[in-house]
């Protein structure tokens, strides 16, 4: 046994169990959280060469699960986020009034998401990645459907386009190289048209999943409509899977194929996303829409980092910055959606202007929102700051002042829209409704936001972790 396959198998097991358990399904989360936390912890500490072949078949037939730095970080963060969201949902089930059945569908879906995400982070087989992508998309669409069927359908349609594009790319690669394993591909990949076409299609498909501007159209309506725990999972995890697969493609499989101009296509889209998402967020009147557009902007930073990682003489800093930003965003955005959900339950309406008086009524929740906002704005001390600091450092060292400027501007714009919401909380308003919110509900976003802050102090540790088996450090695979 190894944590690698257990991390995929255990959530699947829980999914089956929830389907069988009926009304008691929700209580399984109490078992799942310690189990998954332990497995994630095991994974973080596991020896770097503990690659695991399912079924012990050799490549290319077997499926390789590999505990590299990216996987360790993302799996651990996923465990934290889903654990916290799960506990939150246990106490405060995501349901519309009088629709208890809906709450029951929530539980299998999060285990499916969990399994898919873990598998996606651990595997390096492009076809398996397609499968995990579909698992996660399915779960995500179903979660979005809990809020608004129309938004979910739109999401489904667009996700389908993405999946098809990705699958087309995989098919092209199989035809060309007869393998879909990332490690093998990196050794044989040629910069010919077929490879480039495959890479282009897969990238475009994945960008839809990652909700990078201009393919972010599905995200704001889906988030705005979904219940808070579902939004948290969508924004924190579903989006990240697309990002991680793109990392595998661009830095592990085809570093020999991708050139600086292509990287700048991604970087440029990322920069535009930062600006566009921020501007849209500033214009939103509803709190959840604001938070959703903030995700659009934050995803931009991840892709803005691509050319910075590739262009750096020593990519370790930029790489660590990118990963830290991803982790910090997962924690902070999940916390923010949970907190926003609680706040909207207490507030008179869904608009930002309705938040008055909340700082008095629910100080802990507003604090969670504030701490998460600090990390998302990239203000110190926080994980968001550390990540952005490393990226900025890399950008300035490379003379990429345009990217540096976009990052700085993005931080300022984020401050504008988040403080607008916070400011409203501090202002006077009608006495908020007093929902019966229990301790765990308040604690979950607080813990996540606190972690987003605390990882800012653990920069060195995260840096070491992210560098494990990183593509740029691997012998024989030179960064472009």
């Amino acid at each position: 046994m190894s944590p690698l396959d257990l991390l995929v198998a255990v959530p699947l097991g829980f999914m089956l169990a929830t389907l069988l358990a009926g009304r008691a399904a929700r209580w399984l989360i109490l078992l799942a959280v310690p189990a998954m936390a332990g497995l994630a912890f095991w994974l973080v500490l596991v020896s770097p060469d503990a690659a695991y072949l399912i079924g012990h078949w050799d490549l290319p037939l077997g499926i390789l699960l590999r505990p590299d730095g990216v996987a360790r970080l993302m799996v651990a963060a996923t465990a934290l986020v889903i654990g916290a969201v799960g506990l939150h949902a246990l106490v405060d089930p995501p349901e519309k009034a009088g629709n208890a059945a809906q709450a029951e569908t929530f539980w299998p879906l999060i285990y499916l998401l969990w399994a898919g995400a873990n598998a996606g982070f651990l595997t390096t087989d492009l076809f398996n990645l397609y499968v995990t992508l579909e698992m996660v998309s399915l779960a995500a669409v179903a979660l979005a459907a809990m809020g608004s069927l129309e938004a979910a359908l739109r999401y489904f349609m667009i996700a389908l386009v993405g999946s098809l594009a990705y699958l087309l790319g995989v098919a092209l690669l199989v035809a060309r190289y007869n393998t879909v394993d990332v490690t093998l591909l990196s050794q044989v990949a040629q910069p010919d048209l077929a490879t480039m076409l495959a890479l282009g299609l897969m990238t475009a498909g994945l960008l839809i999943k990652a909700a990078l501007f201009p393919m972010h159209g599905w995200l704001p309506p889906a988030h705005a409509a979904a219940p808070a725990p579902a939004s948290a999972l969508l924004s924190a995890i579903a989006v990240k899977l697309g990002f991680v697969i793109l990392l595998r493609l661009w830095f592990e499989a085809f570093p020999a194929v991708t050139g600086q101009p292509a990287l700048h296509v991604l970087g440029g889209a990322g920069a535009l996303a930062v600006i566009y998402g921020s501007v849209q967020a500033m214009r939103q009147q509803r709190l959840k829409a604001l938070v959703a557009y903030s995700t659009v902007a934050q995803v931009g930073y991840l892709f803005l980092a691509f050319p910075l990682v590739a262009g750096a003489p020593d990519p370790s800093g930029a790489w660590a910055g990118m990963m830290m930003h991803a982790v910090a965003h997962m924690l902070a955005k999940a916390s923010m959606f949970l907190a926003a959900g609680l706040m909207l339950k207490a507030a008179a309406g869904h608009r930002i202007g309705d938040l008055g008086g909340l700082a008095q009524a629910m100080p802990m929740t507003v604090t969670s929102f504030g701490l998460a906002a600090v990390s998302l704005m990239g203000l110190p001390p926080s994980g968001g700051f550390t990540g952005k600091f490393l990226l900025l450092n890399a950008a300035i060292a490379q003379g990429a002042f345009l990217y540096a400027g976009v990052m700085i501007l993005g931080g300022l714009l984020a401050a504008v829209y988040f403080f607008r919401a916070l400011s409203a909380c501090f202002g006077a308003g009608p006495a908020p409704r007093e929902p019966a919110i229990r301790g765990v509900c308040t604690a979950a976003p607080l813990v996540l936001a606190g972690l987003a802050i605390v990882i800012g102090f653990a920069g060195s540790a995260l840096d070491t972790l992210s560098a494990i088996a990183a593509p740029w450090a691997a012998p024989g695979v030179a960064a472009p």
């Binding site: 667009i158 282009g200 839809i208």
Partner: protein
């Protein structure tokens, strides 16, 4: 005290401060008025017995300050302490029914400490601290009765005092820098005499000290402020506090090194003040105002001489004793005169004649009447004033005598037949005596020459201005001539009107400016917002997503091909 007389120097300033502190204690304030005469006693002792030119270091205080009593300083200190003592005796009686005794005792003692401290400061920082103390805290004394006229006078006083402080501060900074960062007074003065000294230092110091001492165009505060204070405070203001300004000039002017421009300007201003102020004094209606103008005039005389000495480069050893002696005499005499004005309402009939006689003698002494102390001190000054200056000083006897006569003429009448209380009369007599006697006592010791070397004929010959004055006064009384009426503070009225107009204009401009700013603020844009909404709608379409996928894929391929 015999063990170490230098301890008297710190005591001289600390003791009044202690008394001031006691006045703050609840319930003690009214009683402290009775103790006012005690304030200057350590200073008086110090002036008499403390060793000269021995620095007393006060480590840790200010910038490691020190106190030091020089020969000139001792004269100033002794004169000031004497005047403050007797004025204190007068005040203890005069202010006994006052409405704000605690405040009076507090500020009286603080100003006293500052006044004395100026004369014994060993370095410029200590000097400046004491100077500021005496300058600014005299304000509450000026406005003590809270009458509207006093308040106006106080405001004028304060504005000019603050300006003077700033000028002195900057001047001292420049001087200290020129002396290589030294702060000892002697070192700074030596630095000012160097050719490398900053050209603005001396003029700034002259302006700053000139304000305090009533140098002609800067004197406007003096004739309104001095009379506004209660009588004993007027006495020390005019007798002693203006001397702080003179002492500042004495301490810092780089005598011995010809400084033509500054010296000549100071001389011209000083001598014009000597005559103009006395003439303006003639036109005053209040006795105290006349006396205040006379102070401006007499200080003009001293500053004129100092200016001449500065321009000529006379040695300080020759000039300063004469200046100090003159200051001593003027301080005591002017103090006595102010007390005399205070006595007038309580001197009925015979007492009044006695008072008029006493004040007339003091006035004649100030005017330089032969054989009186005033002539003695003026003769010492004349030796240092050059031929032209000496002539002017001789001529000034005419204007001074006229002003003094005017003062006597407008002396307030007694309300009824009453006799002056002893505690008010005694200080007047004591100060008059000291003013007339001390110069004789000290002249030889200080100037090193025997008094009255001139022969009798020249003495009589030089008395013609006084004779002319006597004729004029007699004529004026005979025809019942009335003096023209001038408001105290001459140039003050127009200046205040201009200031008011200026500040009103500034306010109006500010308002207009902020209005136009508010108008020019741009209106919020909404067009861009609507466009952004439309763009966002496009991105949400499924078909758009498909097209975008192809576009991105194409872009990646194209970029990879580059």
């Amino acid at each position: 005290m015999t063990a170490d007389p230098t301890v008297l120097l710190p005591l001289a300033v600390l003791w009044p401060m202690l008394l001031a502190g006691l006045a703050l204690l609840p319930g003690w304030g009214p009683r402290m008025v009775l103790l006012l005469p005690l304030g200057p006693l350590p200073a008086l002792a110090a002036a008499l017995v403390a060793s000269r030119d021995v620095p007393v270091a006060l480590p840790g205080v200010l910038l490691d300050s020190g106190l030091e009593l020089g020969a000139t300083g001792a004269l100033f200190l002794g004169g000031a302490a004497t005047l403050w003592f007797w004025a204190g005796v007068y005040a203890a009686f005069y202010m006994r029914h006052d409405g704000r005794p605690a405040a009076f005792a507090l500020f009286w003692n603080l100003v006293l400490a500052g006044n004395l401290g100026v004369f014994i400061a060993g370095d410029i920082v200590t000097f400046y601290v004491f100077f500021a103390l005496v300058s600014l805290l005299a304000y509450p004394l000026v406005i003590h009765d809270r009458q509207p006229a006093s308040m106006r006078a106080g405001t004028v006083y304060l504005v000019l005092a603050v300006c003077g402080e700033v000028a002195i501060l900057v001047g001292l900074m420049l001087a200290s820098f020129g002396a290589g960062g030294a702060i000892g007074i002697e070192a700074v003065r030596a630095g000012l005499a160097l050719p490398s000294a900053h050209p603005a230092a001396v003029p700034l110091l002259i302006a700053g000290f000139g304000i305090k001492a009533g140098l002609m165009p800067l004197h406007v505060w003096l004739p309104v402020a001095h009379p506004a204070a209660p009588v004993p405070a007027s006495a020390v203001l005019s007798g002693s506090i203006v001397k702080a300004g003179i002492f500042g000039l004495v301490a810092f002017l780089p005598l011995g090194m010809p400084t033509a421009v500054a010296g000549n300007v100071l001389m011209i201003l000083g001598f014009s003040g000597l005559f103009l102020a006395a003439l303006m004094g003639l036109a005053q209606a209040g006795a105290k105002a006349v006396l205040a103008y006379s102070t401006v005039s007499q200080m003009g005389l001293v500053m004129g001489v100092l200016g001449f000495a500065l321009a000529e480069g006379s040695a300080p050893a020759a000039v300063l004793p004469a200046v100090a002696l003159f200051a001593l005499h003027h301080g005591l005499a002017k103090g006595a005169l102010f007390l005399g004005v205070g006595l007038a309402p309580v001197c009925g009939r015979a007492w009044r004649w006695g008072l008029l006689g006493g004040m007339a003698v003091l006035g004649l002494s100030l005017a330089g009447m032969q054989l009186l102390a005033g002539a003695l001190v003026k003769s010492a000054l004349k030796d240092q004033a050059g031929a032209f200056g000496a002539t002017l000083i001789g001529l000034s006897a005419l204007t001074t005598a006229l002003a003094m006569a005017r003062c006597l003429a407008v002396l307030p009448r007694a309300k009824s037949r009453c006799r002056p209380p002893l505690l008010m009369a005694l200080p007047f007599l004591a100060l008059s005596g000291a003013a007339l006697w001390l110069p004789w006592l000290l002249y030889a010791r200080i100037t090193g020459t025997i008094p009255l070397t001139a022969d009798l004929r020249s003495l009589i010959f030089e008395a013609w201005p006084l004779g002319l004055a006597a004729l004029l006064i007699a004529g004026a009384v005979a025809v019942g001539l009335k003096a023209p009426g001038l408001s105290a503070g001459d140039a003050l009225g127009p200046v205040q009107r201009w200031m008011a107009a200026l500040s009103a204009a500034a306010r109006a401009a500010e308002r207009a400016g902020s209005r136009s700013l508010r108008r020019s603020r741009p209106k919020p844009q909404t067009v861009i917002g609507e466009d952004l909404d439309r763009i966002e709608d496009v991105f949400r379409e499924g078909a758009a997503a498909a097209i975008l996928v192809l576009a991105i894929a194409g872009a990646v391929v194209a970029a990879s091909l580059i």
